[in-house]
Structure formats: C-alpha cells, structure tokens
Amino acid sequence: MRAKNFITLITTLGLASIFVLVLQPHIFQEPMIPLSMSSRDLDTWWSNIFSPTTNIIFVAGLVTTLIWFIKATTSKYTKSSDVLGARLLWWGIFWGYLLLSFIAFAGLNYFANNSNKPIKGIFEASLWSAPFLLLDVILLFWLPTASSTPKTLRYIPPFSMSLRKLIGD
C-alpha cells in the first residue's frame, strides 16, 4: 500500500470519526434539529438507542473497511474482467454493513418501545436519525474505500474514479 493511500485512508477515517462521534451527537443533543420530545426523553433515547447504534455502526464500519483493504492489498488479478467481479464483493460488504446497522437500530428501537417505560417521540427521533445512520455508513465505508483503496481494486467502489481525480490521485 502506497503512503499516499495510507494517508488518505487515515484522513477519511478521521473525518468520518469526527462526524460520527463528535458532530452527530452535537446535532442531536443540542438539538440542532426540530425534535418535539422532552429533554429527558431525548437523553433516554440518546443513551439507549442512538448512541449504541452509532457505536455499533462505527465499529462495524472500521471492520468492514479493514476487510476490504485486506482484500485489496492481498489479491492478485490477471485480467480486468476478474477485477470487475470484485464489484459484487464491495456491494455485498456494503449491503451487509447497512443491513447490520438497520438491524441494530431497529432492534434497539423495538426493545425500547416494548419496555416498561416507552420513550415518547421515539418514532419522530427515529425518522430523523435514519438518514444520519445511512450517512454514517457512507462516511465510514464508502469514503475510505472510494478514496484510498490500493492497487488493482482502486476503482471498484462506485464513483471512486471521479473522487480520486478530484483529490488529485
């Protein structure tokens, strides 16, 4: 793996981490979005549902990105058509990661809703948080893989050719 790829990977993962772990809590806890739930319910929703979900997404994001990079670094390809076959793998990892994130989020919501003390406004909060969780997945998996996948698989993540041209690679 080239130093340039490594630096880009660290940078994109750092930016994604700042968004997921710093900016995103700030957006919901301030709150900077118009949530009607009380601050007590918001705290409960945050600590019981959203924070664990983002933690799972963050860790899963690091793991899936690592898997992709190991694959990209160690694999050898004879021809372009074989390389194009790796698109299936990338999308498989992406959808698997998204599905895991959705299951974690839906599961935590389900258990919170069916507990003795249901959180008021949970549906509204979930609706607001869903796009953010999708954005987390994109930032934690697509951005690092599209910008810094090494070697032959470098253009397999969607839009990676344009993104890498944009960042001067």
């Binding site: 080239r2 004879t78 021809k79 372009s80 058509s81 074989d82 032959t152 470098r154 253009y155």
Partner: protein
C-alpha cells in the same frame, strides 16, 4: 550512427540473421542501423522465408514504435536489402551441366570438360539446383566463384548495388561500419559463400581504398545439427550428416590458408551434441527450429565491434557444463541476460495479457474496462480511446512478440530434453494458443537457477507491474497511447 551490415548465407546463415534481428530489436547492438542481406540459391527455403517474415515484422514494429528514444525497445532501425540468389542470372539452366554448357565444353575445351567430370559426379552435374546447393560445398563453390561484384554493382537497382553503395556512402560520411557474415561451413551455400563473398568484399573495398576503415567479421558455424536422408522424394544428391566433418575440415583449411587479411575476426561456433532436424532438400519445408548456436553467432557482432581492424584473429567460446547451457556461458552474460530476459518477459506480458486486455477493452468499452484496469487510464483517453489509430500498432506488436517468443521457445528447447535460458515449453504452440490464454506469472520464465523467496515469486507477476504502471511517473518522451504503454511495460518489466 553505427551501421551494421549482416549477410546471411544459406539456411543456417539466415537463422543467425534472425537471431541478430531479435537482438537488435532489444537494443543489444546499441544505437545502430542493421542492414540485412540474405544469400540463398533456394528462394523458397523455409529458414530464409522465416527470417524474412521476422525481419519485415521487426521493420514494421520499428516504424510504429520508434518514437521513444529513451527506450531500448526498437531504438534503432533496419534496412532490408532482400535475398540475392547466386543463380539468378541462370534461371533457365537448372543444373551444373546447363550452367557451364557442358556440350560446348566438349567442343571448345575438352581438357576443361575432363576436369569438370573429375570434380563433379554425373549425379552432381545433373542435380537440379532450384533447391540450393544440396549441402555440397563443391557445387556452391563453382557457382559462387562466378560472382563478380563490379559487374553486380553495375546492375541498376540490384541488391548488390544498393548494399555496396550504402556501405561506401556510410564510409564517406565517417560512420562506423561493420560487415558481419553468417553461414555454416558444413553444408553447401554457407561453406562456399562465406570465403568467396568475404574475399570479394575485402578485395572490392581494398581497390576503393576503403578496406581499412571497417570491420569485416564472420560467424562461422561448425556442425551443430544433423539429419537423416531426406524424406521428400527420391533425392540422390542431398546434404548428409556423414559429410559434415569432411566439409568442415575442408572449409576451415581453406579459411586458414586463404582468409588471412580478408577477415578481421572470425568466430567459430558449434555444438558437440547435435540437434536432430527433420530433413528436406530445400524448399519451404526446410524450416528448422532456432538453435542457441545461432544466438552465439549473432552475439559475435557486438564483440566484433570491440576488436581491432586489420589483425585477423579467431575467437571461440565454450560452455562450462557440457550437459547444459547457463546464462554464465554467454559472453557478457549479465548484459545479455538483462536484454534477453527483458525481451522474453515483455513479449510474454504483451502477447498473453496486455494484448488480450486491449481486445477486451475494445469489446466492453473503455470506461467499464478501466474500472478493472487502472493502468488503462494512464495511457488512453476514456472518452476517445482512438482504437482505429492504435489498431495497426497493436497488430504489428502482436506479430513481433509472437515471432520473438516462438524463436525464444525454440532456443530454450534446442539442447537436450530440458530447457535452457528460458522456460517456455509450457506455452505449447504459441501460434495457436494465444487467444483466451491469459498468463500472469513471470517468476518461472527465466531459467537462471536463482532461488527466489516465496514473496519474490508472488510479487513477480503482471498485476504488480500493472500497478507500477499506474502509480509511477515514467520519464519517457511518449508516455501515452499504445506506443507509450508498450515502451513503459518494456521499461519496468
């Protein structure tokens, strides 16, 4: 610029010229123009024809790929003077009796007729010479000795006129000139042609006061192959292995006694273990596999450039192990290994991968293809890959790499059962097996006995080189397009 004129005499001479053409394509002779002149009484001889095909492919390849001056591949050009047939002036007479008009000798010079009968058996007198000199030096000698360069030079547009005029012009322009003759001394055409033509050339330039200014060298092939009686028809006069030693002895004796002052350096190359070829008396079927002896003969050109002019000397070289041929056995072994190994790796990479990949790119579209082949973006415009302008260069390079790999495969298999220098047997029939036969691993191609680590072997693959092509900034003057791609592959591989 240095000017090298190679004269291949007979079938073996043509095969040596073939080797020198390939070495020249790889830049072994440095910045030089290679002029090629073949001498063969058998115009349909398979060896000469194959050399002509590879020469024409190399010329076309040079025309398409010559732009990149920093690359050793196709760095210097060629000039094809064609094939001179010493029997061309007597096309209607097909045997010695007719050529020397024996009925007239009976009347005008009975003594000469008796000498003619003493020197040549009735079968030799009547043997048809449209297939060459049939491995009989006496037949070749009597034909070759009729040659008069001054007469030949005066034939407007003729091959000799072009050759001699060019040499004289080059000398006049102060260019470094080397004339190198190739031929076997155990057959017919080479054995008779080498001493005769060398003497004629030396005397011709002596008369013009130009002899001291250029090298006149020769690679003389001693027996290195054999064959049984020809399988084609009821031949009575044909090359026979049993005469090879006698022919060789006579030719060497002639050279010893008469060649002093004619040649500057004579290289004697042979092989104790004889390769067995199928036998045909001339014609297109007489197309024998390339042999490492011819590679040695072609390498002598480079050595000859460094030798003194005007001091006739003889050079010979031997192998360290009679059971095999190692890179260390070649003169300037490291230099030759670097050039030949690079050539084989390049040709293999091109023919069995990059060429097929470009076909695939054309088929599925440039953008989709580039997604799986990042190197493609470095050399081609995705919106306008301009397939039409690259098509000819690709076709030419395909032909050249195929011809070169076939030659290298034959060289590697020319000694015993094993493979020498290269490991190419696994490619099978290269002519037929290219399509859809992608290859990737380069680590097994060169037979150098070096033990590579598992990591080194794993990294010696085309995927790695493709990533290098994508990531490295090349310092070549034409970095893009198919020409740029080929030169960059040659540069890094």
């Amino acid at each position: 610029m240095r000017k090298i004129y190679v004269i291949g005499i007979g079938g073996s001479g043509a095969k040596c010229v073939e080797a020198s053409i390939f070495l020249h394509c790889l830049g072994v002779y440095g910045e030089a123009q290679l002029g090629v002149f073949l001498v063969d009484a058998d115009s349909s001889n398979g060896n000469s024809q194959r050399t002509q095909i590879n020469l024409n492919n190399s010329i076309e390849c040079y025309e398409n790929f010559k732009q990149v001056r920093e690359s050793d591949f196709m760095s210097a050009g060629f000039k094809n003077y064609g094939v001179w047939n010493p029997l061309a002036d007597v096309v209607h007479e097909t045997n010695l009796q007719d050529i020397f008009n024996k009925p007239a000798l009976n009347v005008n010079s009975p003594a000469l007729r008796k000498l003619f009968d003493a020197l040549y058996s009735p079968q030799e007198q009547q043997a048809k010479l449209d297939v060459g000199f049939r491995g009989r030096p006496p037949i070749g000698s009597i034909i070759m000795s009729r040659t008069n360069l001054d007469d030949l030079k005066n034939i407007q547009g003729a091959l000799w006129q072009k050759l001699l005029t060019d040499i004289e012009t080059d000398k006049g322009n102060g260019e470094e000139v080397i004339i190198h003759l190739f031929g076997s001394v155990f057959g017919g055409t080479g054995a008779s042609g080498i001493p005769t033509l060398a003497t004629l050339l030396s005397n011709y330039f002596q008369d013009k006061g130009l002899r001291s200014g250029f090298h006149l060298n020769a690679s003389v092939l001693l027996p290195y192959f054999g064959f049984e009686k020809p399988q084609d028809a009821e031949q009575t006069i044909f090359a026979e292995t049993k005469f090879f030693a006698l022919n060789t002895q006579a030719a060497l004796q002639y050279l010893t006694e008469n060649a002093n002052g004619v040649f500057d350096t004579v290289y004697l190359v042979g092989n104790e273990a004889k390769e067995n070829y199928r036998s045909f008396t001339g014609g297109a079927q007489q197309q024998n596999n390339a042999h490492f002896v011819e590679l040695y003969a072609a390498m002598a050109i480079k050595n000859g450039l460094e030798q003194p002019i005007g001091q006739t000397q003889v050079a010979y070289i031997s192998r360290t192990n009679k059971d095999g041929l190692d890179w260390e056995d070649l003169p300037e072994s490291q230099y030759m290994k670097s050039k030949l190994a690079k050539g084989v790796r390049f040709a293999y990479a091109w023919l069995f991968n990059f060429s097929l990949e470009l076909d695939s790119a054309k088929q599925i579209g440039a953008k989709k293809f580039a997604t799986g082949a990042p190197w493609f973006l470095r050399f081609f415009d995705l919106k306008n890959p301009d397939w039409e302008s690259h098509a000819r260069a690709k076709e030419v390079l395909d032909k050249w790499t195929r011809g070169f790999l076939i030659w290298a495969q034959q060289i590697s298999g020319s000694f015993g059962q094993g493979e020498q220098l290269f490991r190419l047997k696994s490619l099978g029939n290269i002519q037929a097996n290219q399509q859809n036969n992608y290859r990737e691993d380069l680590s097994e191609l060169i037979n150098d006995g070096l033990i590579q680590s598992a990591a080194e072997r794993r990294n010696d693959c085309l995927d790695n080189f493709k990533n290098q092509l994508t990531d490295q900034k090349m310092q070549l003057s034409q970095p893009t397009g198919l020409v740029g791609l080929a030169h960059n592959i040659f540069y890094i591989i």
